[in-house]
Amino acid sequence: MKIVVDKSRCQGHATCALAAPDVFVLNDEGYNEMDPFTPPPELEAQARKGALSCPENAITIVEE
């Protein structure tokens, strides 16, 4: 499972980091600038929750 963040859509809600603090890291201003990544299996559920939480629909879950 790959997580892809559309940085241009990020508006700094920070819900991803709130829902998945072990998965998403924000910059100092509270925006998600992460490049595509594959979370380890034990963090998949958290990653999914964080991705679904985005009010901008900026985070895509790519099932591989």
Binding site: Q11, G12, T15, A19, D28, E29, G30, S53, P55
Partner: protein, 405 residues
């Protein structure tokens, strides 16, 4: 009143480009049923079409479903934020900054405030926030009763906010008074006076910060003035936008949460037994009891979800209806702390995302943690009933509580 009953067949009650079968008699400041259940009163709109029109308040469209609401929030080019209020501010009244500023100009204003309002910047405030909340709860706990709105929900966000902007606690009654008036007093003279007084107050605060700059948000605004990023007129507007933006909304959120918990013991007990749920509970409460009805203005002629919009048309976006839409959430009227996600747009969506969201979330969570820990069992005072109200912000205006002290 059902959606069908709201229909209005009055000839000439709407502009000619509005289909007659989409016209309803709907005054969003006074929705039938809003006194007992503001969200239930609005939910009925979702029995009808996704976009409707009302001749009230100068005439405006209303998007009723999650899809058009979200799309309009994202599409700032076709749906300008200037003007914002419905009815619109009087001609000649200055625009509210940054609320009524569209991209790309918007970004420059937001950049002034964003660094101070990131989760990282606000994290050090949490212990102070908690201490303040605990102090307030401990003061009210021995009484065994309170009118939650006046005694608590109106006061807590003001007190917290004044600390955040480093304004003296003695100014609390003044600031609270203006907010009460602006939010709830229908008297036009009183409104004008409150706006004028708050404008004067904030101008004085900015003047003081120009002389003695600090690290707070008002100091950052005057610093940006010095860098040519904002003019003094817009500084006051932005200061007021910030001052008022985060107070009435939090008052409402607190009141809806506490009203629900007062009437739903099982949810109360679940939170008491499992405090780890608090973060998700706050999100679920925001989804279920969204606060704002936002205004937009069409910047062009275009088709939108089956209707023809004309340039200048006003559009009301009830962002709380996004969270109540079955297309987004199963059983949307249920409060369920265990949903797969709580993706609401209570803080908006798109470039005007609420700048204070990273302050509001901890405020609500810390409040809930400390209230449930100290007053886990409470209910509505027997023989009495809460009262609500619709408007630009959904509100509970009266919430009589009792508990065993």
């Amino acid at each position: 009143m059902s959606y069908q009953a709201m229909s209005v067949a009055e000839v000439g009650s709407a502009p000619e480009h509005v289909p007659a079968d989409l016209v309803i008699d709907f005054d969003f400041y006074q929705v039938p049923g809003d006194e007992t259940d503001p969200h239930g009163a609005w939910k009925r709109l979702q029995d009808g079409p996704p976009v409707v029109f009302t001749p009230r308040n100068g005439g405006h469209w209303i998007a009723t479903r999650a899809e058009p609401i979200f799309e309009a929030m994202q599409d700032f080019e076709r749906f300008s934020s200037n003007p914002f209020n419905i009815p619109a501010r009087p001609p000649g009244a200055p625009r509210t900054v940054p609320l009524e500023v569209d991209p790309p100009e918007l970004q420059g204003f937001r950049a002034i405030a964003v660094p101070l309002l990131s989760p990282k910047a606000l994290a050090p405030l949490e212990p102070e926030m908690r201490a303040l909340v605990v102090e307030m709860i401990e003061r009210v706990k021995p009484l065994g009763r309170c009118e939650f709105v006046a005694d608590f929900a109106v006061q807590m966000p003001v007190d917290l906010f004044l600390r955040f902007v480093e304004l003296p606690a003695e100014d609390r009654p003044l600031v609270r008074g203006w907010i009460e008036t602006i939010a709830r007093n229908p008297d036009r003279e009183a409104q004008i006076a409150a706006h004028a007084a708050s404008y004067e107050y904030l101008s004085a605060v900015l003047a003081e910060r120009r002389k003695r700059p600090g690290e707070d948000i008002f100091s950052r605004i005057v610093k940006a003035e010095g860098e040519g990023k904002i003019c003094p007129v817009d500084s006051v507007s932005m200061g007021l936008n910030i001052l008022f933006g985060g107070i009435e909304t939090v008052t409402s959120a607190l009141s809806f949460i506490v009203r629900f918990l007062a009437e739903n013991p099982a949810h109360r007990r679940e939170l008491a037994q499992n405090p780890a749920l608090m973060r998700d509970a706050v999100e679920e409460f925001m989804r279920r009891f969204g606060i704002l009805n936002l205004g937009r203005t069409a910047a062009a002629d275009f088709d939108f979800h089956g209707v023809q919009i004309r340039k200048g048309d006003r559009m009301l976006l009830p962002i709380h209806l996004y969270g109540l839409d079955e297309s987004k959430f199963d059983r949307p009227m249920d409060v369920d702390f265990h949903r797969e996600h709580f993706r609401h747009i209570n803080f908006g969506s798109g470039p005007h995302r609420c700048l204070g969201s990273n302050l509001a979330r901890p405020e609500l969570r810390v409040f809930l943690e400390e209230w449930i820990a100290r007053i886990p069992e409470f209910s509505i005072a027997p023989g009495d009933a809460p009262k609500g109200h619709s408007g630009a912000a959904m509100a509970i205006t009266y919430l009589p509580l009792i508990w065993a002290a």
